[in-house]
Amino acid sequence: MFKVFWERFKHNKLALSGLIVILVLTIQACFAPFIAPYNPTEQNIANRLSPPSGKHFLGTDELGRDVFSRIVYGTRISLSVGFVAVGVAVLIGTLLGLWAGFFGGWVDNLIMRLVDIMLCFPTFFLILMVIAFLSPNIFNIMLVIGLTSWSGLTRLIRGECLSMREREFIQAARLAGLKNNRIIFVHLLPNVFTPILVFATLGIGSAILTESALSFLGLGVQPPTPSWGNILTAGKDYIHTAWWLSFFPGLAILITVLAYNLLGEGLRDILDPKMGDKNG
């Protein structure tokens, strides 16, 4: 099964390039202290706002800190926000979706009305409000992004489960006297793995984007901890004189989100059974 998957994956150029970029970013986040040439918070006022050069690869900011080092360390923030937020969203979304789809009736009604309510809120402003009340630290951000982005997945999984519930193998599992929990987690869950994987991959991209936007507005990760969003904020004041300050973190966000989207779209194509076996 995995072999067929890999065969198809290899032939999907976009998904493959997405995966490679993500691997590079992950390595960069893991080994940030070895890759970054300077300490990201070390100030050097004498050398402030110097353009990209041999010494400072991507230039320095208004306090003379090395932009490249700051971006490398920022990868850690972005990726961990992406993974944790999506982890929370997948956990909630999958569980509620499975319950709604499997039990039906009033459970389904209750969960789907909850989803409707979640979809009514303009998510970003909800996050802004919640963060404004809580203190803006990285754990709150991860949690809040995760808690507000599960509703799409719930709908998706509920739909899959509704059609699956009538299939004969689920009826057979009921007849075998299996407990509901066993049917849900052993029989249904592996069959909805594809939409979960696609949602998670695309979701990481959008969570990274949300975190950057929050940090840009000053409600995200607080300086001096470097995050792509707050480097960008600092850069906007100098955009006419020091373009590198806002250009490179922007580019980093663009590349990362693009990589996750490419991988997600690619996975969707590869894992869709209706695609046929033309590559594998």
Partner: protein, 267 residues
């Protein structure tokens, strides 16, 4: 002979809404006031065209759906008062489509093993992993499958083999009664014969009773002594298979017998 399963005045209606704003509901009488019984050690045939309510009866017996009226008795006890475990222990089902009835993501060992474990739990036996594996292998051998397929997945098997796996799953519970809902109608002719003979062998070996649902009259005549003919939710004829086949009383049964392609007799 003693009745194993007795069905009394069973009714199941489905209501369909007609149109978006209409309050008129169309009633479909899927099972309309049906009574019959299955005797111990017998294969009772149930024939009828698509949509005549055969599968609805099967689902009512195993309580995947519930009747509006009527009662089902298993060994004189009402099935409605059974726990799911008790019902599973006694009545199992073989499904029509061997491709839809096995979970594509689970291995054969898991599919059959979980049933074995449920049975052990019901009977209070505590079995080690090894014992469960041995039991799975024994069951696979009885249905004529190789015993080294525990870690294989359903997509690696042909239709006939999958149907054998489905039968193995039903047998794993060691039930008294098996509801076979068109178990061979999606298989080709030579495989059909193999599966039918397997069912006959198993019936002797485990002293099973069957409710055999089919739309192929020839098949039912070959398998069962007694049969029921259903039409639009009602039983229109009941009796010995040979007799019904030779001398059908009901108009619908006559049509059903006439509709069997005559080409079979030339061969």
């Amino acid at each position: 002979m003693e009745d194993l399963l007795e069905i009394k005045d069973l009714k199941k209606y489905f209501f369909l809404k007609k149109g978006l704003f209409s309050f008129n509901k169309e009633t479909i009488k899927a099972v309309d006031n049906i009574s019959f019984s299955i005797k111990k050690g017998e294969i009772l045939g149930l024939v009828g065209e698509s949509g005549s309510g055969k599968s609805t009866i099967a689902k009512l017996i195993v309580r995947l759906i519930y009747p509006q009226e009527g009662k089902i008795f298993f060994k004189k006890e009402e099935i409605g008062k059974f726990s799911r475990e008790k019902l599973s222990k006694n009545v199992q089902m073989i499904f029509q489509d061997p491709f839809a009835s096995l979970n594509p993501k689970l291995s054969i060992g898991t599919i059959i093993g979980e049933v074995v474990r449920v049975r052990n739990k019901i009977s209070g036996e505590i079995c080690s992993k090894g014992e469960v594996r041995e039991e799975i292998k024994r069951i696979l051998a009885t249905v004529g499958l190789p015993i080294n397929i525990l870690s294989d997945y359903p997509h690696q098997f042909s239709g006939g083999q999958r149907q054998r796996i489905g039968i193995a799953r039903a047998l794993a519970m060691r039930p008294r009664l098996i509801i076979a809902d068109e178990p061979v109608s999606s298989l080709d002719i030579s495989i059909q014969a193999q599966i039918i003979n397997l069912l006959l062998d198993l019936k002797e070996e485990f002293n099973l009773s069957f409710l055999f649902i089919a739309h192929d009259l020839n098949l039912v005549k070959y398998l069962s002594q007694r049969m029921l003919v259903m039409y639009k939710g009602k039983i229109v004829e009941e009796g010995l298979s040979e007799e019904i086949y030779r001398n059908p009383q009901n108009l619908y049964t006559q049509q059903l017998i006439e509709s069997i392609p005559k080409i079979k007799y030339w061969l």
